[in-house]
Symmetry: C2
Subunit: 122 residues, 2 copies
């Protein structure tokens, strides 16, 4: 079991942020110790990592919550979750392609700088 601070450390978040996520309904799966402290199992930790992955690829908290809600509903939502993930994968690919496009622009710019500014278009 992990404490909130351990999870925070591992996932590069603050305990504050984790509680904030909890409040937003992103962590309904977390159990509590008899004294009321959050206890993260290995599986919980993996879910938090997945949440971070989704967040870091631009999924808004509300959509992540939707995914988690489906997850909590159980096996009936299996197909829906799978489709959501497949859709999000497309979005990540879109981001990568845009990033590549922008990298090209930057590379071109640096190439112009290396050519000592000759024919610099802008």
């Amino acid at each position: 079991m992990y404490t909130i601070n351990e999870v925070a450390e591992i996932c590069d978040l603050s305990a504050h942020t984790l509680r904030f996520y909890d409040k937003e309904g992103l962590l309904p799966f977390i159990s509590r110790s008899k004294s009321g402290k959050r206890e993260f199992s290995e599986r919980d930790l993996e879910l938090v990592k997945l949440i971070c992955c989704l967040k870091n690829t631009g999924m808004p908290i509300k959509e992540i919550k939707h995914y988690i809600d489906l997850f909590m509903e159980g096996d009936d939502t299996f197909e829906t979750r799978k489709q959501l993930m497949i859709e999000h994968r497309k979005e990540v690919l879109r981001q990568m392609s845009e990033l590549k496009k922008n990298l090209n622009i930057i590379d071109l710019k640096i190439a112009f700088y290396n050519a000592n500014g000759n024919d610099m278009p802008s």
Copy 2:
């Protein structure tokens, strides 16, 4: 010459946003018609595209302004601008690498869904 709305269309921004950028000091190079309207030359358009590229790769407006300020100062800032661009390129590579890492996580997740949830880790 392009009007503000044409540039907005081309760069997928609103005229509002372009005026906002202008106010923030990102577009000091734009000239005006005798009636006071903004006139974007081909070169200006390229610069706006560069600004969008920097913005879309996460550079904050203040840093973009700094770059534009250097640009307006002229050839003396050539080396500085080149170094800035090289540094930003590293940042873009970092983003791409993180995106790839996250794509892997998503792919793994989808693979588990395709395995019908067997051994689903989370």
